[in-house]
Amino acid sequence: MSTSTSARRTDPGTGPPPPAGAVPVSRSRAAAALCCVAGLVHLLVAREHVEVWALAAFFFITVSAGQLWLAQALWRGLNARLVPAAVLLTSGLVALYVLSRTIGLPIPAAGEVGLSESHHAGPQVPGGQGNGVPVLPGSGAGTAIATVGPLDLVCLVAQLGALALLVGLLPAGQRRSLGNLLLAVGLCGWVVWGLVHFT
């Protein structure tokens, strides 16, 4: 695929291409807005995690702070050297999210105290072996596998949107190699999905 071909094409919705040397403000600001959404969602869920595991809440606050900082930096014009780091951070968060909703993370079930179905906070019961909570097929209840809620999906979509825009901000060479890496991860994900869905 030649980037030059597409580079010559102009977007009919955006009028003539900006002059050479201009910066992709619209995309950078759109990415900023999406990062801001993700950061706010993470701030919101940090509150729920305090009761379960303070360290998880600390993690969410850190992520939220990082994303909000990234949002303002993107809005004002981010140093281009930081774009690859932002791409990796965002894709890492997406990966962590996918793991938490599929095989589970070795932490108490996220967001599961008082607000959603699996509310038994303690992983151990005194005198008992394990937490004693049945894992109903398909429900994921009782494990570290968290449930998918509307808030997560908003955050996930925002992060995926931001990721796409950030990848677009990368220089062509980096974009290609990072794009291939993401493609490989994505294909693996689809293989797993296929195995689960069809077997």
Binding site: T14, S26, R76, Q129, G132, V135, W190
Partner: protein, 557 residues
């Protein structure tokens, strides 16, 4: 390195960028072309799609095996399988005052659905468990050995147990306190006083977090306490005194139980089991029978009636004989309630089939044959004509049934509410009790106090069979109206239906902490359970004062 600029564009352009689907931006940075090619978009689409699809699929969960429900065409047609009665449990040894029993909880494979093997757990490997029959005044010691596997084969939890003898005023340490658990490889000796009036009790699992699953797997059985009054009445005894444990289950295509708790609202099966048999048929002689009906379902409630239109004569409730028998056309029966019912087949012709039906109360999940329970086929065989009547008076002097609201020293309230997805009592759950180090109580009557408890269900979306441990109570009223005829006896579970407020009165005899919970076991597990304490100056036992021991068994029984 130049910074990305901050020149603003029109909103439409931002929107295009957010969509990320438009091609051909030619923004430049360091002389390089900055745009998302079709190939880039394809790559991002692949990874983004996977990131969305995987969480939504959600079945990659460790230990979670997807089950497929058994087709209803594979179920036996109703009334094609023979009725059976659970086996009796014989004492291991007896002495002057006490009967000693040994019970081993263990896995079994049962052919519940003809042609399929269903892995179950049973007391002594039996589902339902063996029936205990004891006389008032003799003590029982029951060794319960947990020989269950370390993990549930499908649900992946460790099946610790806590055996509750429902209907017995046992000491707190022998009451099946949910957190007083016995792991696989451990055992506990339970002591039962048997000092109460004759009644139908049942022993079932009460282990923290998985009572519903353990009971559905088969850990439930009847325990019948007799006394001289009950024995002296000319009501049916012996072969004509028949236990009916009614439960429901759903099956997976491989024969195993199918587990679905409908977002923690309840488990409802498409198969109605009587003593573990789907819709059985019982041969009955032309006389009266007494049926000890126990609703051993996890969640389902029933409304019984006979397709012949004949009456059901209710003679006993949870706490034993009613003051007077009550003739009803139909009655409502929530989980864990027990009703003893006389059905008179004497006027029916030989060859007649009578069907016990279920016109399901609302907020159950019904399937094509959940409106049928079992059939009775009338046969002309000879029978013993003794004990074949229903006296007009049964037990008019039961102290519980003589209590009135005026005897109460105080009134308390229990609000059964679903809050933020959790089932709560007065806003509390068993988690709160655990977090309080078992000090949180909803009520603290002094020993001997009479109290009125007002139990409220403000929702129209579900019902709660509410069980108060230790005590027998009398139902005073429901939404200000008298209790239903079939409830005019001593009770320990009360059906608190949709938008109902039920007042009960009881004398608190006994000492220590006891549970209060919804007997929809899914509600109980998630986490509609709390406790009360009966205060006394001395001899107040702690529920944890006689913990389980590890196998091998000590030879002290």
């Amino acid at each position: 390195m130049p910074e990305l600029g901050c020149r603003s564009r029109e909103f439409s352009q931002v929107a295009n960028a957010v969509g990320g689907l438009r091609l051909g931006w030619t923004d430049m940075l360091e002389g390089e072309t900055m745009s998302l090619s079709r190939r880039d978009l394809m790559k991002l689409g692949v990874v983004g799609g996977a990131a969305l699809a995987l969480p939504l699929e959600r079945t990659v969960s460790a230990g979670s095996i997807a089950q497929s429900r058994l087709a209803s065409s594979r179920l036996p047609p109703p009334f094609t399988l023979p009725f059976r009665v659970p086996e009796p449990l014989r004492p291991y040894r007896t002495d002057a005052t006490t009967d000693f029993y040994k019970v081993y909880m263990k896995p079994l494979q049962a052919e519940v659905i003809p042609g399929l093997r269903t892995p179950l757990w049973g007391y002594n490997g039996l589902v339902p468990g063996p029936t205990v029959r004891v006389s008032q005044g003799r003590r029982t010691v029951m060794r319960q050995v947990n020989n269950l596997p370390g993990r549930h084969p499908i649900l992946n939890y460790t099946p610790w147990t806590s055996v509750h003898l429902h209907g017995s005023a046992s000491l707190p340490q022998y009451d099946g306190y949910a957190s007083d658990i016995t792991n696989p490889g451990q055992y506990k000796d339970y002591v039962y006083p048997n000092t109460q009036t004759a009644r139908t009790l049942w022993y079932h699992d009460h282990g923290l977090h998985h009572t519903a699953e353990n009971v559905l797997m088969g850990l439930a059985a009847q325990y019948q306490l007799t006394d001289s009054l009950e024995q002296s009445l000319p009501i049916p005894h012996g072969d004509y005194d028949v236990p009916l444990l009614v439960s429901d289950a759903m099956f997976a295509s491989d024969g195993s139980l199918f587990f679905d708790n409908h977002d923690e609202s309840g488990m409802y099966g498409d198969v109605i089991l009587v003593n573990g048999v789907p819709w059985p048929t019982m041969k009955v002689k032309r006389r009266r029978y007494r049926f000890r009906i126990l609703n051993a379902s996890v969640s389902r409630s029933y409304q019984w009636s006979l397709d012949s239109g004949d009456v059901l004569t209710v003679i006993a409730t949870d706490g034993g004989l009613m003051p007077y028998p009550q003739k009803v056309q139909r009655f409502r029966h929530g989980a864990a309630e027990r009703y003893e019912v006389i059905i008179d087949f004497s006027k029916m012709p030989v060859g007649r089939r009578v069907v016990l039906r279920n016109t399901s109360p609302k907020n159950n999940i019904d399937y094509v044959n959940t409106n049928k329970v079992m059939a009775f086929d009338v046969v002309g065989d000879d029978f013993d004509p003794a004990a074949n009547s229903v006296p007009d008076v049964l037990n008019p002097t039961n102290p519980t049934m003589l209590l009135t609201a005026r005897d109460a020293v105080r009134t308390r309230r229990l609000d059964m509410v679903r809050e933020h997805g959790r089932w709560t009592i007065n806003g509390h759950t068993w988690d709160d009790v655990v977090k309080s180090k078992f000090s949180l109580v909803e009520a603290d009557p002094r020993e001997g106090d009479v109290e009125v408890w007002e139990i409220r269900n403000p929702s129209g979306g579900w019902f709660h069979p509410v069980h108060i441990h230790l005590i027998d109570f009398r139902i005073l009223d429901r939404n200000g109206r008298p209790p239903m005829p079939h409830e005019l006896g001593p009770k320990d579970v009360v059906y608190v239906g949709e938008n109902e407020t039920v007042r009960v009165v009881a004398r608190f005899e006994g000492r220590g902490k006891y549970m209060i919970h919804c007997h929809n076991l899914v509600h109980e597990d998630h986490d509609m359970m709390t406790q009360f304490v009966v205060r006394a100056d001395q001899d107040v036992f702690d529920p944890f004062s006689d913990p389980c021991k590890s196998l091998p068994e000590a030879n002290d029984l």
